[in-house]
Symmetry: C2
Subunit: 296 residues, 2 copies
Amino acid sequence: MLLDGKKISDEVKAELAVEVNKLISSGLRAPHLAAILVGNDGASETYVSSKVKACEQIGFGSTLVRLPADVSEERLLAEIDAINNNDEIDGLIVQLPLPKHINEQKVTDHVVPEKDVDGFHPVNVGKLVLGLPTFVSATPKGIMELLKRYNIETSGKHCVVLGRSNIVGTPMANLLSRNSNPGNCTVTLCHSRTKNLAEFTRSADILVAALGKAEFVTADMVKDGVVVIDVGITRVDDVNNPRGYVLKGDVAFDEVEPKSSFITPVPGGVGRMTIAALLQNTLQARLNSLQTQLIS
Amino acid sequence: MLLDGKKISDEVKAELAVEVNKLISSGLRAPHLAAILVGNDGASETYVSSKVKACEQIGFGSTLVRLPADVSEERLLAEIDAINNNDEIDGLIVQLPLPKHINEQKVTDHVVPEKDVDGFHPVNVGKLVLGLPTFVSATPKGIMELLKRYNIETSGKHCVVLGRSNIVGTPMANLLSRNSNPGNCTVTLCHSRTKNLAEFTRSADILVAALGKAEFVTADMVKDGVVVIDVGITRVDDVNNPRGYVLKGDVAFDEVEPKSSFITPVPGGVGRMTIAALLQNTLQARLNSLQTQLIS
């Protein structure tokens, strides 16, 4: 069965639009997301414009700050400061990757945790691991939402995560290990140094593929009934496609799908949920700041 | 072969004593650790006094703040503030567990990250997960040191961690998954909801037992040549012992040892390393503050 990221993300967005209306009819402003885009990498342009468009769809405010590829780190940090201090903006994302002359960690650390709706700041990463309320980074949060809305049983299941990135693999492993629902999985985190990878993947009840290698997971690597979450999204050249490429996941969908009980398509799976989760975090940031105003 | 925590922790402490002498001969003060002990739980008394004694052994300064079991949260937070603001103190630990009327998370969050040598503050937990320099909490850090000093190969090995606590199991899983040495393990994190636990433990090249159940891991649960790290330390009643109890690890040592390539004893294994690691963190805190003074 398809885990339909498009359908579920549309549901989430409809729910968020209702929340926006509630705020506005109470005389309060809508949530507002700011994005900083440095340079004009094709994929980054696409991601940022999807996010801005999604904001517009559901009535969120949005600001896009464009900076040239040769912008100084100092100037970028100053832009972040301005947004950190702007009470009309609830959430701030800096689209990654950044040019090599800029220290990404320094930039990530510079966004105040209260507006860090990407969940990249160390304090937010720590809260995720500790099970405290925080902004869970968008891709893992979107995957958790998908598992939840399809009522997929995770407790006691063996979940194998492929890829240990800071933004997907590692937080997924931490989230699914926790005593929560979804959660309570026995999690194995695999990566480039893993030996006998297929032995691990074949024992997986739930397989999260987040290694960024097109069609890496083949049918012989999974067991019957597996739940497959495909986080990969690689542009593969294709002369027959008017864009010159097609998008491929980390899973060879056509051959793995028949063995699976649930599987996310690419596109229309995890990517859609990522944007929905970012919007959920932005609403949360808005509600948090309203609560802070009430208390103080 | 025994992973001798006593021997290695003595080595570490001797190295730290050398660093203390270097500081003093440069006209600088020694590192100083403060501990807050609330109430008088027997095990907590023992742990805190071991830590204070270890400080004295190597020339660190130490302060023990004792508060009654019925101390208010407000008063405890005020004591933390005083130490946070005291330039003569580098590291602060609040011995856990705390009485039920006190919010442990609030207390942990109140220690400034720069003095949080237990590594419990969310920002330090986040840095650990992200692989950034930080105070790694003492037990996981001590275990990493032990693996390192015995030159145990970890890269590509399957490490099974039993127990998902915030202070041992979860940080161990994160540390051993990272691209570092020790590290680069394929890690499976098991816990109370894990099904077919013995299947996981039998596939482990490295087994970290941190679930707090005396002699839980038996010989039939491990494979030949396994490396065993036993974090458990449970008091088991024993009328034949003058203290009325004996200390037991999570591993049935007598039967598992013959199958293992390396194994930590209890006591004399991980516990000793925990204290050594706490002292290393305290030295680091001292050096960090000196560096900050130099820069500013």
